[in-house]
Every structure is written in structure tokens, then in C-alpha cells.
């Protein structure tokens, strides 16, 4: 086991059967052609050390407030990360053996879970999970040993040792990684006390901002919706029993988020349909939803009107509106029932934006205060719909490759598909979308490397001069998040 000089700096002997590799290669992810690689290397150097701005993600603010050491290697890198657990599940490992949905694991269970990850290392070949884990093990712990059945225990020990050092506590990582801004994702009823405490703590130099995520309040067909809206009303101090009360409650909670530094409101529904209702119809359907007499089409109609209202509010309060549609959540009911949501079986659906978003865009698409970021898991809509929309509407940006598509070849396809139609500036800038704090720098670095490679390709084909490419890359890293999220 090799330990490069890092904060953790744990060094152990190499056990039999372990393969110790070199540190991650400085040219990783850059184009293979030597000429293009040279160009890409020079471009990447311009942005490699720029601070990280993370305008959308899922790190928990409480984790940063408490700043407790991570419990164990499984809790840090495995159990809570559905990118990792889903592929192990597909390979025949039951989720319970990975600790999913079981609260804190004892040392035996955590180590057993970790061994399963290491034993199945080959299933991650070619995936970004492999790339992020490898990079995280090196950067945070100085480890370059390849995970395997043989190396599992010594890796576990090395990581566990590292976690006891102060340099690997959550706040220390924020500093060490140069994270300037970190957005969390939060329920509109949240009091945001953790955010306030972090903001008021002078030792926290990262700007930790909440994100307004009101999905559950826009789904009048869900069983919990009535109770949810009651809770929303309570948080806002208004009666959410009527349509007008719902609107007022939303506005008040958005204002609360705005005061706590929020820069965006995030929405994820089955589709992005928007369709205005008359005030009377909205009130009527809302009342029916409260009375649980609403039909499925009515609930959908109300949701589409609500989404339109959220766009209106964004034009007024300036929260950037981000849309992450098109996923069948909890595809495997039995797994949802046993292990809860976000357990690896959310499966995408066909995307459709052109007609679905038209009512919203006809009303607000050229409004000077709206910024609307459209994400998709259906690559076929990129050249067909998203890039053409972002190439006309000043409010619209094409969201960075997301979730299943946040990976090297997918990012390349995305950049190649979108750029020719919408240019570089109509894109959102990179978004890590992760709850895995340790992987944040590896993810941002991956995006920077791939954008450097993409721009180097344009230079190599004489479509862009080298100085323009460098300027464009800095704009992608610094300019896009600043413009798109008002940071």
C-alpha cells in the first residue's frame, strides 16, 4: 500500500495479493492523441486550481454544522451512495449486506460491507464510480492500492485511520478542497438553522447555501400531500388550506430561503408540463385535492399550474429555476418498501420539453429576471429540444450532464451535441449533484479535464484559437455558475 503525502498520510505495508498502482495519472481523461493532449494539458492547467463552486448538490448542512468525523469507510464511501450500491446490487449483493436503510453500522458490519465493495471492484470498470473512488482514496488518504478481496482489510484500516485525523473532518475538507460555494438541497418547511449557524461561524469560509426543493408540495395526488401542505403552512405562518394560502406560503418560504442565501429552486416531476388554470379552477382543484376528491388528471393539471406559478415567483424573487424531470422513482416497489427512496432503482423516462414548456416560455421565457436550467436523462432531447430552446430563449440554459450521464464519455457526447447548437455560454456550468462530499473535487476536476479536452479538440481542428479556448474554459468554470446562479 502506497501513501503519497496527504493530510491523512496513513501508510501500511502491502499485503499479499495486493496490487499497488501509481498515483492517478496527470493526463487522465485527456484525449489520447498526443497533439490534442498537449493542448488539453495546457488548457487544464489554467483552471486546475480554481476554487470549486457547487451550485447544486445534496451534502447535508447538518453534517457540516456538527463537523463530526465520518464514522467509518462504509459510511463515507459506500452505504449512502446509490451510485455505488446499485451496481453491487445488480451484481447480486443484497442491499442489506451493504448497510442500506439500517442506520449506523457496527465495525463488523461496516467492514463486511466494505469487503463486498472491494471484492466486486471489477464491476465498476469503465464507470465514473471507479474513477471517483480511486481518486478520493488517493487524494484524501494517499492510497493507490487497488481494491480487491485481498486488499479490503488493509484499505479499510487505512481509511478508518485517516478518518480519525482532523484534516478529514467535513469542514476541513471544505477548506482543503477549496470549495468556495456549496449549495445543499432543502425542504421548504426547513427552518435553515444549520445554514444560519454556518453563515454566522467565522471559521467557515465556504458559503453554504440552501436550495428550495418543493416537489412534494406540488404533487396533489400523493397521499401525504395534505399533511405536507399543512406543514408548509405552519412553517410560513399562513393557512395553506386554500389555493391563495398555498401561493402565499410558497412565497414566504422562498423569501425565507432567499434570506438564508438560497440562489435556486429545484424541481423534479415526472414531466415538465406547464399549463395555466384560471384562478377559479386553481382554487377549485386545490380544494378538491385537500378534500382528497381530486382525480388523477386534475392533480396533474394542478401540478402543472403550480409549476407555472413557481416560474412566476422566480421572475419575482430571482431564484434560478432548475428542472430535473423524467424519472420513474422507486421502479422496484419491494425495494422501496424495504429500503426507502433513493436506493438505486429510479429509472428515466422519455423526455419532452418543446410543447410541455411552451406555456411557461411564452409567458416568462424572455423575462429579464428568469433563469431556467433544463436537465435531462434522455440524451435524444439534447439536440432536438434543449439546445434549440437555449439557443433562443435568454432565460434558458442547458443543464450539465446529470446523474447517469455525469461520466466522461457522456459528458463528451453532451458537449459535442449541445455546443454546435447553443454554444458554450448557454450551458449551466458543472453541477456535481452529489451527497458524497469526498467526491466533490474529483467530480469538478473530471468536468474541467473533459472540457479542456473538448476545447483542445476545437483548437486542433482549427475551429478556435488557443487563447479563445483558454478564455472559454475559465468562463465554463467561473463565469457560468456566476451568471446562471447569480453567484
Amino acid at each position: 500500500m502506497t501513501a503519497a503525502g496527504t493530510a491523512a498520510g496513513t501508510a501500511n505495508g502491502t499485503a499479499v495479493g495486493e496490487v499497488t498502482g501509481p498515483a492517478p495519472h496527470p493526463d487522465r481523461l485527456l484525449p489520447a492523441d498526443p497533439g490534442v493532449r498537449r493542448l488539453a494539458r495546457a488548457l487544464h492547467a489554467e483552471v486546475a486550481d480554481l476554487p470549486i463552486v457547487s451550485p447544486h448538490g445534496h451534502v447535508d448542512a447538518g453534517l457540516l454544522l456538527q463537523d463530526a468525523p465520518f464514522r467509518d469507510p462504509a459510511a463515507l464511501l459506500l452505504t449512502p451512495d446509490h451510485y455505488v450500491t446499485r451496481l453491487l446490487h445488480a451484481s447480486g449483493v443484497p442491499l442489506q449486506e451493504l448497510g442500506v436503510g439500517q442506520g449506523p453500522l457496527d465495525e463488523t458490519a461496516a467492514r463486511a460491507a466494505w469487503r463486498l465493495l472491494c471484492r466486486h471492484w471489477a464491476v465498476f470498470a469503465g464507470t465514473p464510480v471507479r474513477y471517483w473512488l480511486e481518486q478520493s482514496l488517493h487524494d484524501a488518504f494517499g492510497l493507490t492500492t487497488r481494491p480487491s478481496s485481498e486488499s479490503a482489510d488493509s484499505l479499510y484500516d487505512a481509511v478508518a485511520d485517516g478518518l480519525t485525523t482532523p484534516g478529514l473532518r467535513p469542514r476541513a475538507l471544505l477548506e482543503r478542497f477549496g470549495i468556495r460555494v456549496l449549495a445543499t438541497t432543502d425542504d421548504p418547511a426547513d427552518d435553515l438553522a444549520a445554514h444560519a449557524a454556518l453563515r454566522d461561524d467565522p471559521t467557515v469560509r465556504t458559503r453554504v447555501v440552501p436550495t428550495f426543493r418543493p416537489d412534494r408540495y406540488l404533487e396533489p395526488g400523493r397521499p401525504s400531500w395534505r399533511a405536507d401542505t399543512d406543514r408548509l403552512g405552519d412553517a410560513a405562518g399562513v393557512d395553506a388550506g386554500t389555493w391563495d394560502g398555498w401561493v402565499e406560503a410558497m412565497q414566504l418560504r422562498r423569501a425565507h430561503f432567499r434570506r438564508h442565501g438560497a440562489v435556486s429552486a429545484d424541481h423534479s416531476h415526472e414531466d415538465v408540463g406547464t399549463q395555466p388554470l384560471s384562478p377559479a379552477d386553481a382554487a377549485r382543484l386545490y380544494a378538491a385535492a385537500r378534500a382528497r376528491t381530486v382525480t388523477v388528471p386534475e392533480a396533474t393539471a394542478l401540478r402543472r399550474h403550480m409549476l407555472l406559478e413557481m416560474a412566476r415567483m422566480s421572475t419575482e424573487d430571482g431564484l434560478t429555476m432548475t428542472l430535473h424531470p423524467g424519472v420513474r422513482r422507486g421502479h422496484h416497489g419491494p425495494t422501496s418498501a424495504r429500503f426507502g427512496p433513493d436506493t438505486g432503482h429510479d429509472i428515466p423516462l422519455p423526455g419532452a420539453f418543446t410543447d410541455a414548456l411552451r406555456p411557461l416560455l411564452e409567458r416568462y421565457g424572455t423575462h429579464p429576471s428568469l433563469r431556467l436550467v433544463l436537465f435531462t436523462l434522455d440524451e435524444s432531447v439534447l439536440s432536438r429540444e434543449l439546445a434549440p430552446l437555449a439557443g433562443f430563449y435568454p432565460s434558458v440554459y442547458v443543464g450539465a450532464p446529470w446523474w447517469f450521464l455525469d461520466a466522461p464519455a457522456s459528458i463528451r457526447r453532451w458537449r459535442e451535441t449541445v455546443t454546435e447548437i447553443a454554444g458554450l455560454r448557454r450551458t449551466s456550468g458543472f453541477i456535481d449533484d452529489t451527497r458524497a462530499l469526498l467526491s466533490v473535487p474529483a467530480r469538478h476536476d473530471m468536468a474541467r479535464r473533459l472540457d479542456a479536452g473538448f476545447l483542445a479538440g476545437l483548437v486542433a481542428e482549427h475551429r478556435l484559437d488557443e487563447d479563445e479556448a483558454a478564455e472559454a474554459l475559465v468562463d465554463l468554470v467561473v463565469g457560468r455558475p456566476a451568471e446562471v446562479f447569480g453567484l
Copy 2:
């Protein structure tokens, strides 16, 4: 400012802050790998100087007839080109500041619009607009200065100067660019007097041919349809008040176009649905449409029958039938209302050909006289539907990448996707589809370079011998337009 030796040959001093670059690189757009690039360079050399055949485009015949100098740089390169204005609009530039929809601009307004283009030059990085403009500025005006706020005025002056020279009048450009055939796009009621005059003018060596574009007469649900069909009947000298009259009028106008050199009829509707009606039903729905009592589904049914009729006529008169479906025109109503159509917010829709075209293909798909070119803006249908159709039906050709997809990486994807299923010969040959005369050679050269690169890749992988690749490339440039459009 650098002036290479060209017809315009305007040379000015370089202002402070201007960046003067080299002329467009001879290897631009060729593959980056040195070995493949060598092969591609040799292939491209075989076709670089072949004449241009443009079987589908939107240059105005009147422009060629009048042969007046282009008014100013904005009128030449900016205001009428929705490829350019849409990205500026997306970047926050109001269309009115670009002169859209305002008729001729005075010098102050034209220069102001031009400055906006130059100031926002970075938004075009990575897009084909950037490539075409750069190439046009060099080839026509000898300019290699990079557009910017600093260089805007001197570029404007240089282009404006150039436009006063005889070598930059429209007809001179036809000669200079080696355009052998140029197809325009025309209304069936057009008398085609401009085409006749050009044909009869011995100094015009380019064959300027009209294209029959009857969309509006096939949309019985549109408010203007009744008046349109009246006008069609008048042009044909028949009463278009009945279904039989409509059919006869269409046939007569197609014959008129044929006599004036037309080689194709072009169609662009929301979908390519074709479905036969009985003669009685056709007559009945036609009458209802005339009486404005037709329902939306009936109007669609009639349109689908009409499209089938157009295919039948193509089997009889030999006009190649081209289909450009799947666009939501005028997506942003307020912009349409203020600035008119073709102002940058036509947004594609999902494509569907397999079942939609089946009635047409069952009737006429193996007819020896039919040639049917299918274009799409939905890349997902290329391997799924278009290439399989073109790989069986002798009438069907896959149309070249169109509109948003007429760009280097998109063209590569298109060629890679289509070729393995349908081969090279079942494609249409390049189509520039442009109203920007100045960009015609840059567009054709772009396609030739990309095809050279694609074929070089096949040679490098030992899938094709070099002599075969050269033959294939010549066939794409010369053979395809000749066969597909009977030129």
C-alpha cells in the same frame, strides 16, 4: 487587419485591441490524428475545387436577377440570418437592435447591429456560425481580424468597402464560387418570372432552378388556407373550390415549375403522416375546409391525404419529393407576432417515420420514378428509422444533416450512424439549405472536409481502400445530387 489577396482586397491598419489571426488553416475540420489527417487531406484535395451543386436552399431569385450590391455588412451577414440572430437573442440582445423585421437599416443602425455581433463573438465559439462567418470574411473580403468590440468598426468599414466592388455582387459570387446549380424555394403560385429571366440571360452561367414548396396549401386548418387556395386556383387558371380543382391546380403548377427547371417539391409539416381517403371523403373534407367547418382531426386527415397525392404526382412528373418534418414553428408567440416567422424559435419535435410513412411507401415506395428524401432534426430516428428505410426502399434517401444539425460534430454523428445501415449511396448529398449566399462555399467545403475525414477514418481502420474512398467522396459530391435530384 490582414488582407489576403481576394477580389475585395480591402486593407486597413490594425486598430488597438484587434487580434489578427492567420488565414483559415488548410487542415481545418480534418481529423486530429496525424495519420488520418494525411489521408483526409489527400481525399479532400480530390474534391476541393469541384463545382458546387446546391439542390435545396433559400437564396432569393430576385436578388440574383437584380444583382444589386449587398446593402451593408449587417444586411449581408447578420440581420436576415436566424442562425446568427437567435444566439444573440439568447445572449440578451433584443431582436430589434439587430434590425430583425424592420426592413432596410440606415448606416447608424446597421453599424450598431454589427457592433453587437462583434461584441458577442464568444457566444459563437464552437458553433458553425462562427466557422461560416470567419470563412466568409476571409474568402470574400480577405479579412482575418477576429471580431470584437475593438475591431467592430474597422471590420464594418472593410466589409462595407468590399461590398462596393463589382466582384461582390450576387452574380459575381455565383461565378466566383463555382456554383453550377442553385435551387431556390418558391410558392406554387409564383409566376417564376425571375427564374425565366435568369435562364434567358446568357451571362448567367449558373442554372438557377425553382423548388415547389406547397406547404400552406396542404394545411386546411390554417386561417389563410381558403384565400391561399383561391390564389393557387387563380395561378393555375382553374377553380380550386373543390377537391378535384385543388388536385388539378397542383398538377398544373407543378408542370409550370417543371417547365422552369424545378427538380424537386419540398414539404414541411408537423409530421409525415400519410393516410389515404376515399375520393368521396376527400371531396367532403375539402368542402368542409373551404366552408371553415372542418375539425382539427379532419384537417389533419385531409393534409395526410394531400401529402399522399403529392407523392403520386412525384411519381408522375418526376419532381424529387423532400420532407422536412417535425418542427414547432413560432414557439414563442410574442416574438412571432412582433417579428414574424423564421426568427429563431422554431423548435424540433420527436420524429416518427416508420408507421407514418407506411401508406405512402406501400403505394409508391418501389415505384421506379419516385425519389423521396427524408430529413430529420431528431437524431434518434437516424439509425432507428431513416437508415433502415433507405436501406430497403429504392425511392428513399436519407437527407443530409439539416438546420441545427448542419455542423461538424453533428455531420460526423450523422455519417457514422447512417452509413453502417444504409451505406453512402442512400444519402442525399450535401444540401446547404441557406439564404446566406456568401456562406454557400464555406458550407459545401465544410461538408467535403468532413466526408473526407470520415472516409479517411474508414481507410485508417482498413475498412476501405484509399482508391475506393476517393471514388466514394467524388460520388458524394457529384453523384448523389445528380442521382437524387436528377441533375
Copy 3:
């Protein structure tokens, strides 16, 4: 004409106008970049000579049992292969001139058909057909002459000569090609006598196994369905006049197939919809279908329930379930009527798996005995649906690129799209799906070369170590078929 040393070893003189090329290049299909190519070459060498396992294809067991010489070059390489005949048909060659649907051709007709193939050689440039034919001519006959009008007759003679040698009989090819396992495709009512005879023949070292393909019995809306189910019942020795009888007959025939070595059941319907019916409803709809009073939606509902039943049976008998959905069969009715099915005009449809398969996956998706391989002709579902499904469900594998997509660039796109989401191990391994025995080794070698190139790319980008890439490639060639088909 050049004859490299092969079993056939026919050598003739080179006629005027013939082009004799070199043997297929050892680096064919490997990446063009010299560094990546070196890596790929080394990887390919590790698997180049491994035996062929073909778990899904369409070679006829009777052909192997009779072991008669192939009749003539057209019967061997042209007439029965719709990959070849469709592109000739698209190029204007009538199917009857190729011998399609006419039974054995006499020498004159066979030679005339062969000449048409050679004359139109250019239409195959860039397609896999060209690659396979070229490779087959070399590997089996030692021929490197390029097909053309000039070389047609001498090529015909050389191939015809070769076919008289014992080394080119079907069974000799199995040996020579190192085919360890070959799956055929068979009707559930088939007695599998040919398979039994081959199994019992000690001189046949290839394991020739049947595949259960029950499509026709799951389509209650088809005119022949009642007679088909009668035949199924007869084969099973039960009365298939009731729903319970149908289920029992299917189970008995699957057991019969299992006893004859079958490892999978293959299904190809318009969609993969699965939806449970109550036993009473199933019985009722079945009776209505027998009575020919079933409606179209009822027939579809019954088919979807039947498919669910097939999944249940797979969990019980262990036959791997493969799904090949989404094709409009017999798109051109007149051609179907005259020449029959599989004549080149089956055209794909949009794919949809997420919701369609959900009932099946909620029931059986995590069942330890189910293996379910999902194939698609709609590339847009790869990253959107198939890879996410295979990345969670332990039963699901992404099927190798199929039919129109079984070609170099398509395979690369497939691997690039699927791997980042589902890894390498959640894929099926290569499947040749061919009835052209002679092309089997060329097809498997093509896949091995492309996978070597893909993995070399990961190594070149430092995403995988070289030893891991080698291990992964062996797993794709040996491990995947073993796991996915229980071989």
C-alpha cells in the same frame, strides 16, 4: 486473384480490370491513434484465438445434420441474407433477380445474382456487410480480389470450386472456426430431432443447442394463432384449447427444449409490455381468442400476460429470457406477399422499457433464477432505460448491439453509452444473430477487436490499468456468455 493459404486454397489468374488487394489487415478496426492501437493490438491478441460461443443465432440445425456442401456462391453468401439483399434492392436490383423466395437457383441464375452483387460492391462501402463478405472470402477461400463486374465470374468460379472441398462443408466449418457452442432458433412444436442427432454424433464436437422461440403462440390476434396453438398442444400432448392447457403445453415444450440442451427462450413482439391478468380474465380472453371474438386491445392484453407467464417459467426452468422488441415486420406489404418474411423491410419502432417492463420486474426482477437480456434497435433507450435497469436489477443484462446496430461504429457507441452506467459485466456478451454460418467468425472477431479498442481507450485515458483491461476483455468473451446463458 490472390489465394492465401487456406483450406480451400483456390488460385486463379487475375483477370483484366480486377483489383487484387492485400489480405485483411491485422490492425483492422483497431483505433487509429498509434498509441491506442498498440494497446488494442496487445489486448486483442489475448482473445483472438479463444473458441467461439454463439448463444443466439439462426443457423439451421438441419444444415449441420445433413452436412451437404453449400450449393453455390449465391446460396452461400447472397440469396438467404437479408442484410445483403436489402441494400441491393435499395439500389434498384429486384429481389427476384437475386433469387429471393425462389428456392434453389440453377447455375445461370446463381451466377447472374452473384454478378449483381459484385457489380454493386460500392453500395456496401462503410457497412458491416462489406467487412464480413471480404473477410469470409479471404478466410474461407483465400480470396482477396475486390468484387466488381470484371471480377464477378472468376470470383464465382473460385468460390464454387472451394465449395466442393470437404473443408468447406458445414460441420468442417464448425471445427475450423472453433465454434464451441452454437444456438439455433426453433419453434416450440419442433421435435428437435436434428439437435438430438447432432448431440448423439460423436464427430460433432460443437454443442448445438436449440432456442425456444414461441412468438406466434403469444399473438392471439394473428389469423393463424388458433391453428398454431392446436399444433403446440399436439406437440405437448395436451389440449391447448384452454388457458390452462396453453400454460401446460408451454411448460412441457420448454422442458422438452431444456432436455435437448436449450439455454434460452427468445421473444420478439412489437413492444415489451407486461401486465398481469387475473386467472379468470386470462381464461376468458383466451377463450375469446380461440373463438376469434377477441378485440385488438384484448389480444394485446393477453399477449402481455402471456409474456409475464414466460418470465415466470424462466424463473422456474432457468431458460434465459431474451427480448428483441420494437420492429414493424413486413413494412412493405407487396414485398411480403410476393417474397415472404425476412426480406429486408422490417423497420424499427421507438423503444420503451421503463414502464412497460415494470410489472415483470416488480415480480421477478430480483428473482435469483431469472436472467433477462434486453435488446434494442432504438439507441435512445440505451442510456435512458436499458443501462439504468441493468445497473440495478440482478436479472437484467443489456443485450449486445443487434441487427442494424451490429457494426463497428454502432458497437462503439453502444459500449460507450452503456458502460458508464451499467459497467461491462451487466452486458450479454457478443451475439452474432446470424443465419450465415460463414460469417460467424468474422462477426465474433469484429466484436473482439472493437472491445479491445474500447478497453484500450480506457487504458489510454488512465481509467483502467492494462491488466484489468485484459481481464475485462476475457470476461466479455468467455465470462459473459457463461454467466448470462449458463454455458
